[in-house]
Every structure is written in structure tokens, then in C-alpha cells.
Amino acid sequence: MSARVGVVLFPGTNCEHDVVWAIEHLGGSAELLWHGERELRGVDAVVVPGGFAHGDYLRTGAIARFSPVMESVATFASAGGPVVGICNGFQVLTEAGLLPGALQKNAGLKFLCETVECRVETTTTVLTNQADPGAVLRLPINHFEGNYVCDATTLERLRGDDRIVARYVRNPNGSLDSIAGVCNEARNVVGIMPHPERASDALVGSTDGAVLLRSLLAAASDTTSPRTALGHKVGV
């Protein structure tokens, strides 16, 4: 049975169908999870996709984090379930406190829409377990608030615990330490600014993102995950 991935849909999300398409293209199954519902319907992994959840009003992700679905996502994450936030989804996960730091306006105050090179810095996360360490991936970025910041103590901890998941080869947005993605302590929650789902077929210019989504599918299929013991259905 293929792994089932839930893709969270807020008002203003706009990358959900790209993620669903890419997951299915890579052999998984995917379904949308409406933000107003608490039920995760037994999915094996959750993606919080990109867009402008709740219009990005106040701050990116600030309103979205209070949506009912996010309580369930937090419970799922604390039970070890794989959770990935892409772009706006990364911003939502930091606002929700599931990932450290914050994403603020790009240093150059420009909306960036381009393909960048990112280096995979660790392969022991739910988004990188199938990638080669140090692999450089060409991935699209599409954001105004992608400038990662955190305090010095947090940065030290991220470095020391090998929790910087990916770095930009050439920093496009002023991110601290060129950070493109980070993970939580348990390594089952990952946030990343570039869009792997938009680089999962040769037709759109790069297939470099496919290895990341394949990693997520592998993590979602892992029946030894601790969440199995906590009553979440796996692979059903």
C-alpha cells in the first residue's frame, strides 16, 4: 500500500495541487486536509504547502497556526509523524513553534522567483533520507519572506545537532548562515523554503526535488516509526 500524505489547505494556499501531483507522480497517494477540520484521516505524513495562508495578514503564518488542523498536526508531529512545511508552510511551522526561528522579509526586499542551488547538509531527516550527503539540488524559490533568522543560541544548537537540513550555495535572501531548511530535535519535522514539488518532473526544468519527496514517502512508509505505537495508522 502506498504511503498516504495529507496536504493541508488553508484559505490562500496555492501549491497544494502541485504537491498532490508530485506525491502521486512519485508513487504515493495524497489528499487535501481542510484547515478547519481536526481530522488527519489516518495519513502517514503531512505536508504544509506554500502559498499565502490567510493572506499572510499580520505576519506570514501568524493566523494559520491557530487553524484547528494545526493542533492535530502538532499532536501528529509530537508522536513522531513526518511533517514537512514548504515555503509558506515552513513559515507556518515556525509560527506554530514546531520549528525554531522565524522567516522575515528578504534582505533585498525583493520577491524572489528563481531556481537556486541548495546543498543537502544532513540526510537523517524525513525530507532527506534518500539524498546523498552534500548533494547540490537545483530547486525553485518563490518568496518574499524567506530570510531565516534565529537567536545565536538557537543557531549554535542547530549547527551542533546537525539540524540545518539545507543551505543555499549562494545566499539569495539574507538567511542566517545561508539556511534554506531546518528540522526539529526529533528530525521528523522539516521546513524548507525552496519548492521540491516544482522540481519533480523534467518538464518543469529540474527533477532534483524528487529525491526529497521520495524521502518523505520513505519516512511515511516506515512502520518502525514511534507513531505506530501511539495509535496512528500507518500505511493504511
Binding site: L58, R59, A62, F66, T94, E95, P100, G101, A102, Q104, K105, N106, A107, G108, L109, N147, V149, C150, D151, G174
Partner: protein, 86 residues
């Protein structure tokens, strides 16, 4: 009692403020070459009903911590004024 709260949200010291930096760079072009430490923030106004000023302040402070500001990158200041009950 009704209080008007003015909440000022700004970047924490030490966190790069890209908008403040851009404004600061543009001012010398207008002849203001003696300006530094420009910071751009948000101003949020709201009216809150509470039994007294302390209760109102405590509640607005909680709103700031939970929603209005992101303590990872932002600082906030609250200014409260009682509204006349006419």
C-alpha cells in the same frame, strides 16, 4: 471600562530590519544625511473592555505574546488610554 490600546511592534535589536535599512539608505538622497537607526514596524490599535487598567494591560500583553508579535524577531510596546464612557 473601555481602553484604547496602541501596540507598537518593531524588530528586536540585533535582528536585521530590511525595511528600516532601505528607508535609512534612501533618506540621504533627500538631503537628510544625519539619520541613523531607522526601524520600520507595525502599529496596531484596538479597544478592550476590562475591569481596570491592569486587567486590560495583562490581556493585551497576552495577545501580543500569542499573536500580535512574534517574540523570536519582534519586540512590542503597549500604550493604554481609558476611553471616556459618554
Amino acid at each position: 471600562m473601555r481602553f484604547e490600546a496602541r501596540v507598537d511592534v518593531t524588530h528586536l535589536p540585533g535582528i536585521l530590519d530590511p525595511q528600516g535599512a532601505t528607508v535609512e539608505r534612501s533618506l540621504p538622497a533627500l538631503g537628510y544625511d544625519n539619520v541613523s537607526e531607522v526601524r520600520v514596524g507595525k502599529s496596531i490599535r484596538l479597544v478592550v473592555e476590562a475591569s481596570d487598567e491592569a486587567a486590560a494591560r495583562a490581556q493585551v500583553d497576552e495577545m501580543c505574546r500569542r499573536l500580535l508579535a512574534n517574540p523570536v524577531i519582534e519586540a512590542y510596546e503597549i500604550d493604554l488610554a481609558e476611553l471616556s464612557s459618554t
